[in-house]
């Protein structure tokens, strides 16, 4: 065990940092730094810069455009991008649809779908959750019935993140109602332009349109859009859950936000001194920083130990601690801005706002971010579900 970075790793770090600063437009990074909303174009611009460099799909096999990086390099990559305020990469195509297509898809599917995911020309969204199937995902009821060489799909998906931008959706659908729940599910790729699909926004606590309901009414999908075998979709979905989990802890993002928090606490004045010099508040930041230091090392230990997919229970631990820390950061930023967090000014977070903000600029995203990040302990398998999964592995 040698826990210091090698000169090669330090050189890689410098390379990633230089890339981030030179190739991702400052206007986009400034939005991230200031907690502003990103538009679809911002994500696409960033993705295309990665694609040009050959870094848009590092987790893929090398022959398909992936990078032959060590676990430590992947960690450095994530960390440096986050620290340089590069937008988080949208995972639905690159890290979710693609690994399943690569592992279980046909050659034709690989040729059709992988290049535009890699280049950023097609946007994907995820059709897993349903109104009646949240943590108990296997109880999903969206139905796909075979009709010649098409499936006819009826049902509803929900909490579909950024479906309003998506060209494609990958869905878990029920293809057999007679068997055990998990054995009647198929994994299917659906063009969002297909007639019968309706996308309706859901506005979240922060007042923002981030997720959607997606309705399917007699939607005809060619059979060749099914990935792998019929009724094996649950297995493929589980594969997806263990793939590319190096980023699940979001250590880099949290480090970035810790910097934001410290900056705010330094600017804010409380009883004649900087808030950061108030020992009680400072101790809260200190405890959080210690948590984050430990999480970073746990993340390194997990990704370095896993030869291939991350074991589920370890991914679960990273998800739980990672989201606890992310939420704690939003809580402390909210506490740090204090009453300046009260004005509701969602338009000030958007692109087309040129007026002065009410209160300091850094206070504007504090409350919306706090409200928004409550999602993190719910999505991706709630933290309670994660604990149940870990316990099953530990205790049998």
């Amino acid at each position: 065990m040698d826990l210091s970075y090698t000169p090669e790793e330090e050189a890689f770090r410098a390379e990633v940092r230089a890339f981030a600063i030179e190739k991702i437009p400052e206007a986009i990074r400034d939005k991230v730094r200031r907690g502003r909303h990103l538009e679809k174009a911002d994500f696409v611009t960033a993705h295309k810069a990665f694609a040009e460099r050959g870094w848009s799909v590092p987790g893929w096999p090398e022959e398909l455009g992936g990078c032959d990086w060590t676990a430590v390099q992947k960690h450095i990559f994530d960390e440096e991008l986050a620290l340089a305020s590069v937008p988080g990469r949208i995972p639905f195509g690159t890290n979710m649809a693609a690994p399943v297509i690569i592992e279980f898809g046909s050659e034709a599917q690989k040729e059709r779908f992988l290049p535009p995911i890699r280049s950023g020309d097609e946007w994907w969204c995820q059709g897993f959750s349903e109104p009646g199937a949240g943590s108990d995902l296997a109880s999903l009821t969206t139905r796909a019935v075979l009709d010649g060489d098409h499936y006819i799909i009826n049902g509803q998906k929900t909490w579909t993140t950024l479906a309003q931008y998506a060209d494609w959706i990958f869905c878990l659908v029920r293809t057999d109602t007679e068997v055990k729940q998990q054995e009647g599910i198929s994994f299917i790729l659906i063009d969002m332009k297909t007639p019968g699909i309706t996308v309706r926004p859901i506005i979240l606590l922060d007042g923002r349109h981030e997720v959607n309901e997606v309705f399917f009414e007699d939607v005809r999908v060619p059979v060749e859009n099914r990935v792998g075998e019929e009724n094996k979709g649950w297995t493929y979905a589980k594969h997806l859950l263990s793939h590319e989990r190096t980023g699940i802890a979001r250590v880099g993002h949290s480090k970035h936000q810790l910097g934001v928090l410290k900056q705010i606490a330094t600017s804010e004045q409380s009883e004649g001194r900087s808030l950061i010099d108030d020992p009680y508040f400072r101790a809260k930041i200190a405890e959080l920083e210690m948590d984050l230091m430990a999480l970073e090392m746990t993340n390194l230990r997990v990704i370095a130990a896993a030869d291939g997919p991350t074991p589920l229970e370890q991914a679960g631990m990273l998800k739980i601690r990672g989201t606890e820390i992310q939420q704690r950061l939003t809580e402390l930023i909210m506490e740090a801005v204090g009453p300046a967090g009260q004005p509701y000014q969602p338009e000030a977070l958007g692109d087309r706002w040129n007026e002065p903000t009410i209160g300091p600029d850094y206070a504007v995203p504090a409350a919306p971010t706090y409200f928004n990040w409550r999602k993190s302990s719910i999505y991706g398998g709630s933290n309670e579900i994660q604990k149940t999964i870990i316990a099953k592995v530990m205790l049998g």
Partner: protein
């Protein structure tokens, strides 16, 4: 960066584990009122395994290890638990007497050195010293000194003409008296009173003395925090096993979700602490003093908070069994509580971390 153990590190861990299993498995800790004698042969065995010189350079007859090796050894000792104050009479003592020509005898286990730094009423402040040296004679009192009775000599911090220094004092020198006892976890310890005792030598003074105390204490804290990880891992394992076998209401306790989730929290606390100890070990091996101190304090804070959490949860989930002296969970709990109150508790170190934390310029 390489997170896997080297062959040498793996061998080191196996060696310590074997030692712990041979000497300490099945040790009867059930009666702390029984005088648990310090077995000098155990100390010599540690020496024979090369553990006295773990941190000493190879050309000095040592193992040539660093803080990471120290963490590995200490975690294995914690799994015993082993009632030998390795952190004190090897790690701290080694740092304090470095270069004094005592190396060979210490490596053999022939010379047992007990650091005597802390004074009654000083809580965790090693800089609070009122022991004084005048004309080669030292007077003062030192508290909770591990192996005070058994040691051959003490390294004592004292003021001479107002300047801090480190002094070597023989255990049997005239004017040295020891009131011996064992701590809550069965480690032989004592209160040391010095009344115009003749010093053998002055090891260091001023900045150098302070530096030795600070860096030595930080290394010892890594050992303590890692020992806590060993205790916590053992407790987590015991509890998992117990929940899987103990049946109530017709099914194993492991089937109850309320306990499953608490068990998972326990395991996460163990892994989190192991991680932060590795961070501290990494920083201790190569960073500046501030970074070292900060990371060490993070590790000691986590060891304290998580150690207590794990111990209390283990006892709770064992039910009545966990309350008995006989069941092994208790000995880890006792050891963890002693670690927590040695060289700074969680609040002390959270405070130190907070003061040393990097913050932007105003």
């Amino acid at each position: 960066m390489d997170l896997s153990l080297s062959d040498e590190q793996r061998l080191l861990v196996e060696t310590v584990e074997r030692f712990v299993a041979d000497r300490y498995s099945g040790t009867d800790h059930s009666d702390l009122t029984k005088d648990a004698p310090f077995r000098r042969e155990d100390w010599v065995s540690l020496a024979e395994l090369g553990l006295m010189g773990l941190l000493r350079d190879e050309d000095m007859g040592g193992f040539g290890g660093g803080p990471i090796e120290l963490a590995l050894v200490a975690e294995s000792l914690g799994r015993g638990p082993v009632p030998l104050p390795y952190w004190s009479s090897v790690v701290l003592a080694g740092a304090l007497v470095d270069g004094q020509g005592m190396g060979a005898a210490m490596l053999e286990g022939e010379l047992l050195v007990a650091p005597a730094l802390l004074e009654p009423g000083a809580r965790y402040d090693l800089g609070s010293v009122s022991t004084t040296v005048e004309e080669q004679r030292i007077s003062g009192a030192k508290t909770v000194v591990p192996l005070a009775e058994e040691a051959d000599c003490f390294v004592v911090s004292a003021l001479e003409a107002g300047e801090l220094g480190l002094y070597l004092v023989g255990r049997n020198a005239e004017g040295v008296s020891v009131r011996s006892y064992q701590t809550q976890d069965g480690v032989r310890t004592g209160e040391v009173v010095l009344e115009k005792a003749l010093i053998e030598s002055r090891i260091a003074s001023g900045e150098e003395a302070l530096h030795r105390i600070e860096t030595g204490a930080d290394l010892a804290r890594i050992a303590l925090a890692s020992e806590a990880v060993g205790c916590m891992a053992a407790l987590s394992g015991l509890t998992e096993e117990y929940l899987s076998t103990r049946k109530q209401f017709g099914r194993p306790l492991a089937g109850f979700q309320v306990l499953q989730h608490r068990m998972v929290e326990m395991r996460m606390a163990v892994e989190e602490t192991r991680s932060i100890v590795l961070v501290a070990a990494r920083e201790a091996a190569g960073s500046g003093r501030t970074e070292q101190a900060r990371a060490v304090s993070a590790a000691k804070t986590k060891a304290g908070r998580n150690g207590r959490h794990v111990a209390e949860e283990a006892v709770q989930m064992h039910g009545g069994m966990g309350m008995t002296m006989e069941y092994p969970a208790g000995r880890y709990m006792r050891r963890l509580m002693m670690i927590e109150t040695t060289l700074g508790d969680a609040d002390y170190h959270a405070g130190r971390f907070s003061r040393l934390m990097a913050v932007p310029a105003a």
